[in-house]
Amino acid sequence: MEDPSPKILKRVVKIKNPNGFHMRPKAAFVEAAMRFASDVKLIWEGQAFNGKSMFELMLVAAAEDSEVTLEVFGSDSLLALQELEKVLAEEDASIPS
């Protein structure tokens, strides 16, 4: 069920978490992103950050109600986009321990 001709998929997502896109939602995001083969990028204030690197995401200081752009490219991009959008939009995303 691989997409034969992958394209870059983009989606603008609003951060819902009242504390902004902080450590725990970031960790949940990275965890989810790692499950996909596709490249995952977050674009915030015009800068792109690797969605699979906690270190890079540490630099994304997106507050509540601000917007980030999710950019996915790869064989499973559609699925990844749907899944990651859900994590980003979640009010209190957290990785399971």
């Binding site: 902004g20 902080h22 450590m23 725990r24 970031k26 960790a27 949940a28 990275v30 965890e31 690797n50 699979k52 690197s53 906690m54 270190f55 890079e56 540490m58 630099l59 200081a61 507050a63 957290s94 990785i95 399971p96 321990s97």
Partner: protein, 583 residues
């Protein structure tokens, strides 16, 4: 090339690779590796990261369980960062491009990320830098742990460089591999310095900050004659020092010819020269240098660097070894436990922290409060006394009552041994250290209680001038030549003479040539010094005329300041000795 000037504490010159020690006694890792070690370093990094992540995840589970999942999740985020492949790539590229160690590359990469985060405009996000520090510590801990770079894992000859070495760390140095040491802190009479003498390795202390300027593996020169540390010497300096090394060997050889000659003044007065020791194996060194006995066996070193108090048997074996090595006749003065202040670190179970340890429960005071501990030591000493000429010495006596109490406990132990039919010398001579001003002032009374005195100059100077000898800010007050110290010493000499009590002087002052004429002139006929100084002092005594020494002592006693005393004594000493032999 960088040259640092400090305080020389044991002579000699050593040229060798530096090994850096951190404040917890771990070796500070080197910064670079050889190009052939890149793969190995990658593997170390992989394992370090893996182990750090495992540990953080297991902590995550514990915390989630205890206080809630959301708290555990923070550690989950840490684990993710630790395992971040981008982090690993960054570190690996520094290792392979710059040949840095995993530790150093990690800290460089983390420093970069920390800076980035700290510069974020959102204060709360910026404060996440703390998480990165934590992560760095986790991985570093695993990397360092892998190497287990304690001092016991040395496998090639090195020069140890450290901010400071505790006496117990110093005591544990393996001198087969540690050929010299140099420290940023410390003074001439700190216990670490005394131990350097015991270990017989060139050492320089009190050098001030230099650790950040040196990298493990750098070639350094420790010049224990002039008190220099030279980092990364140039070719010319290196050549000069290689020649110095040869010269020292020949000077030692000339002093060695003195070994079997007596320490006798020009006008025929014999001075007894004994050795101070910390460990039984030093008896050999004492005999090699011509010591006529052991004037001070500092038994506390038997207790240091150990988790438990040594048993009676263990102590007995050590004391027996010393006395047997010295033979039937040569005196062996065993000083009972003198733990206190700076030496107590390894002994915290016996002692609660004090605001003012040097004026606190230490030494004989500690023993009189822990009779069991004291009796164990006294039993061991008394049992060993049948093997030769052991004399018993109490440290830090400050009142007559204390001295009587200590003696009473000796009597009790003797009775116990007698009842148990264990042999011991019932006439064992008992003496007291005179190292607290009150004891010096009351020496006339103290003399009625004992058969000998031993003046401990280090503590006497410290307590007389109320100056901590290891505190660099007041160290200049700590001066053995101070007229107050000299007057106390004179009182003790006179009291000993009147009461016909034997008198010894130990402590660093007794090994310092500028005070030798003063001591002789005051009437002191026995000195106990670090074994390595014996030949030098003997050579000097053989040049001195007692009449001159008496005149010098009289004049020195008339001086009003330590500086005047020292200048005068130095000048008088120089008249007899060529400069090259003076420190």
């Amino acid at each position: 090339m960088e040259v640092y000037r400090g305080i020389p504490v044991y002579p000699g010159v050593v040229i060798g690779p530096a090994l850096l020690l951190d404040t917890e006694g771990y070796l500070i890792p080197q910064r670079s590796i050889n190009s052939s070690e890149v793969t190995e370093e990658f593997e170390r990094l992989r394992i370090g990261i893996r182990d750090a992540a495992i540990e953080v995840r297991s902590n995550q589970a514990i915390i989630a369980d205890k206080v809630g999942t959301q708290y555990g999740a923070i550690l989950g985020a840490h684990a993710q960062m630790i395992e971040d492949p981008f982090l690993r790539n960054e570190i690996e590229s520094l290792i392979s491009k710059s040949y840095f160690t995993a530790e150093y590359a990690l800290s460089l990469v983390m420093r970069k990320h920390i800076k980035e985060i700290q510069s974020l405009p959102d204060a709360r996000m910026a404060s996440r830098a703390a998480d990165l520090f934590d992560i760095e510590k986790q991985i570093l801990g695993k990397l360092i742990g892998q190497r287990k770079e304690g001092l016991n894992s040395l496998n090639e000859p090195v020069v140890i460089l450290a901010h400071d070495l505790s006496p117990s760390e110093t005591a544990k140095l393996n001198t087969k591999l540690v050929h010299a040491f140099a420290t940023e802190a410390g003074g001439r009479t700190s216990h670490t310095s005394i131990l350097a003498g015991a270990l017989e390795i060139p050492a320089v202390v009190g050098l001030g900050k230099f650790i950040s300027e040196v990298t493990g593996g750098d070639i350094v020169i420790v010049d224990g004659n002039s008190g220099l540390l030279i980092i990364d010497p140039d070719a010319e300096t290196l050549k000069r020092y290689q020649k110095t090394k040869t010269d020292i060997v020949s000077l030692d050889a000339s002093l060695e010819s003195l070994r079997d000659l007596p320490a006798i003044t020009q006008d025929g007065v014999e001075i007894k020269l004994l050795g101070n020791i910390e460990f039984p194996h030093e008896t050999k060194h004492c005999l090699d240098k011509g010591a006529q006995g052991i004037g001070l066996y500092r038994t506390e070193f038997l207790f240091m660097g150990k988790d438990a108090v040594p048993s009676e048997e263990e102590q007995f074996e050590a004391y027996k070894e010393v006395v047997q090595a010295m033979g039937k006749d040569r005196p062996v003065v065993i000083r009972t436990l003198d733990l206190g202040g700076d030496k107590l670190a390894a002994f915290s179970n016996l002692h609660t922290p004090e605001k003012n340890p040097f004026l606190g429960l230490r030494s004989i005071r500690l023993c009189l409060r822990n009779i069991g501990l004291f009796k164990t030591q006294l039993r061991a000493i008394l049992r060993a006394s049948v093997y030769g000429n052991i004399q018993l010495l109490f440290p830090m006596i400050s009142t007559v009552l204390e001295l009587r109490q200590a003696k009473m406990i000796v009597s009790e132990v003797k009775e116990d041994l007698f009842e148990e039919k264990v042999p011991f010398n019932k006439d064992i001579p008992i003496g007291t250290m005179i190292e607290v001003p009150s004891a010096a002032i009351l020496s006339e009374l103290m003399a009625k209680e004992v058969s000998f005195f031993s003046i401990g100059t280090n503590d006497l100077v410290q307590y007389t001038l109320a100056a901590d000898r290891s505190n660099e800010d007041v160290a200049s007050l700590y001066n053995p030549g101070d007229p107050a110290v000299l007057r106390l010493i004179e009182m003790v000499v006179n009291a000993a003479k009147h009461s016909n009590v034997a008198l010894n002087v130990c402590g660093e002052m007794s090994g310092d040539l500028i005070y030798t004429m003063l001591f002789l002139g005051l009437g002191i006929r026995q000195l106990s010094v670090s074994p390595h100084s014996i030949p030098e002092i003997k050579q000097f005594i053989r040049m001195v005329n007692l009449k001159d020494a008496e005149r010098v002592a009289k004049e020195a006693m008339r001086q009003q300041t330590a500086r005047d005393v020292n200048n005068y004594l130095r000048e008088q000493t120089r008249k007899l000795l060529p400069d090259s032999l003076m420190n």
